[in-house]
């Protein structure tokens, strides 16, 4: 069964190239531009992994991650933080309870490696 990855990013270009890369690598990709959309999707459907941008309008990605990791329903969904910021990314990921993180610009091999490690 094809694994579903929920990408949450407000940058359409990033969403575009990442979707292309992941689909090419055999994943099903669900796009969401902000936390609200992501939650709306998660309430009606499930996914195998969330690739979550940190700097988002309204609710930041790390906040959303923290919320999900505190809910019984979503705590088991692996979350990879995805950010262009170089400041203390590791700390933010740890505090938010994320399973991994990757900085932008990203190395496609590194991204796919991390996803593969988490969901196969």
């Amino acid at each position: 069964m094809v694994k579903k990855i929920l990408i949450v990013d407000d940058e359409p270009d990033i969403m575009d190239v990442a979707t292309t890369r992941l689909k090419y690598s055999g994943y099903d990709v669900i796009p969401a531009v902000d936390a609200e959309e992501a939650i709306a999707y998660l309430e009606k459907d499930i996914c195998d992994l969330i690739l979550l941008d940190v700097v988002l309008p309204k609710m930041h990605g790390d906040e959303l991650c923290k919320m999900l990791k505190h809910s019984d329903k979503y705590e088991n969904i692996p979350v990879v933080l995805f950010t262009a910021s170089a400041m203390n990314v590791a700390n933010v990921a740890e505090q938010a309870g994320a399973d991994d993180y990757i900085t932008k610009p990203f190395d496609p091999r590194e991204l796919l490696g991390k996803i593969k490690r988490l969901i196969g």
Partner: protein, 747 residues
Amino acid sequence: MKFAAKLAILVLSIVICSAVFISSLVYFSNVRTLQEQITNKLEFRAAIAIDIVDRFMYEREIDLKSFSVRLSYVLGDPNPDKIKQDLINYRNENKNYISLSFLDLDGKRIADTSGIDVDQRHSVFVNSKYWNDTVKGKSSSGQLVEYSYSLGVPVIFFAYPVYVKDRIVGILVARVATSKLYEITRLAMGKDNNAMYLKIDLINSDGLLIYSNYNRRGILKDKSGHYSIFGEDVVAGRCRINKNNFEVIAKEKGYLDFMGNGWKVILAVPEKIVFAPANQLRNRMIGLFIFAVFLSLIIILFFSHYFSQPIIKLSWAVAQISSGNLNIQMAVSSKDEIGQLAASFNAMVKSLKKAREELVSAKDYTDSIIASMVDCLVVISHTATIKGVNKALCDLLGYQENELVGQPIKKIFVQEEEEEEEEEILHKYFNKIFDEGVVHNIGLTFFTKQGSKIPINFSGSLMRHNKEIVGIVGVARDMRQIMAVIKDLEDKRNDLEEHDRELTRMQMAMLHIMNDLQDAAHIKTQFTGMVSHELRTPLASIKEGISLVLDKITGEINDEQVKYLTIAKNNVDRLDRLIVAVLDFQKLESGKMDFKMESNDINEIVKSVENTMRPLFNKKGLFFELHLSNNLPQVEFDRDMIVEVLTNLVNNAYKFTDSGGVNISTKPDSGFIKVMVKDTGIGINKEDISKLFQEFTQLSRGKGGAGLGLSICKKIIEAHKGKIWVETDADGGTAFYFTLPIKEQRA
């Protein structure tokens, strides 16, 4: 009274009291003993005496009875001459009788030993009852005692009837001198010394003296003087004391046929005779006591002198001490209480002396302190007069000490003239001292002898002695110099205040600038963060877009397309590294970098960098050598940071080395681990070395880059409290060194 006299009186009293007591005891017991003795003796002797008298009387009766039958008349020859001869013969045989007579029944003398009154009637005898009784043949001896005028002595008559054939033919009369009775009673008295003082009375039943050894004239005339006290009811044989005499009376009891005439013997001894031995003893004792008192007086005088001498010495010594002489010692060697007292006294004197010396030296010490004081000292009495001053005060005011002592304080203390209530202010301060006990640092003014004024700083406190307030001790300091200094200081303070205001203005300006700068720094940090984020996001799209094409996900491309897309991708990566470097540097510089300090093995880090970098070196044909020490301890550092430093240094070596290679070594270096990265590259110009670790510096050998790598390395190593430096040979490559401190092992 002197001690010796007291002692003498005491001892004398003891001697006299004991003497009086003992002698009284002896005297009275002696008297009692003597009394008992004499009583017993008198009673015994009186009994014996009367017994002897009885026997004597009985014997005379027997005498006459036996003689009466021997008379020649009785034998048949009534010749008076013959009878006379018989009588004389008999009297010669028996010395008891003075005379013997033979009377016919008419009472006419027939014969008489002395031949007196022959043929005459014996009127005295014949008229007596004794005669009548004798004629009737029932006589008893000694019934008649009469004075014999013919004999000239009192005599006792003994008469016995002369029987011829049971018929009385005449009466035999014998006379015994009453003194004979004394002789015989005298025998009963023994050879006692007191016997000669014995008064012996022999009295008849009427108390008339028959014989008295002391009242011969009273014989047959007087009654015994002693008899009256016994009276008729007296119990014979009991000794009594009467009128200073011991007296005893013994009654005739009779002997065999002799029934007695009721005679009595009275013995009397004067008390003074009886008690003479006791009195003699008493007198001797008095003599002895006088001697004893005299002797004790001498002894007392000697011993009281002996005993009182140390006390006199002591009292002399005490007098010496009270007059202030402490250089005395008592030379008493005895071990008694006096000796102990003397020893204690000497110890006391010693400690007194020591205490006085201490006091004197303490006084000298305080005197010299007071005299040497720089500040003025003044002692003020409660009546506001000066009691004492020190030298400093005299010198300051120009007085002699004796000019000030006893003067009112107004003489030296004044207040400013403009103060109208000057005296009251002065008094106010002194009252304050009396109320509160102390005042500190009040401003007053002294008057000098010359009339000038000296401002002073005055502090005073109450002086007490045995809890009584005796005055005020005050210390004053000449304030002229200090006033001058104060004035100078005030001037300077005014200047300083001006400067201060200036400074404050400048400080305010600086603060504004600093705020601006802080704002700028904050903006810079935010700006850098924002810039990096905003730069990197499009870079991500660019890079991934290129990657998608290069990875032929969007379809086949030719080699030339691959080549240029690769160039584009590499430059995107380079641009990203540059942005990251700028961010890192900014974080290190602002101190916002978080270090994860953990215990790490430096050799492992080196090997990990080797793993990453060796392929590059191999590709370029360069060697990559390691010389790692095996004895390195674990060191605390941030692994990622040190990896970055090493990577940076190795990268530099790679960039500037075309032949040869790189050599990395680790070794311990006195508390540090020293890491060396040495290449065989082009080296560094000496003038560049100082600029090497400055940020944004490109050296003359430049190969591009932001010029941040070594600056970042320096900041990381310094943040780890290590050092980083470079050594170079002009022709022989470059060696970078850095050290990391070995954390001290906990004991």
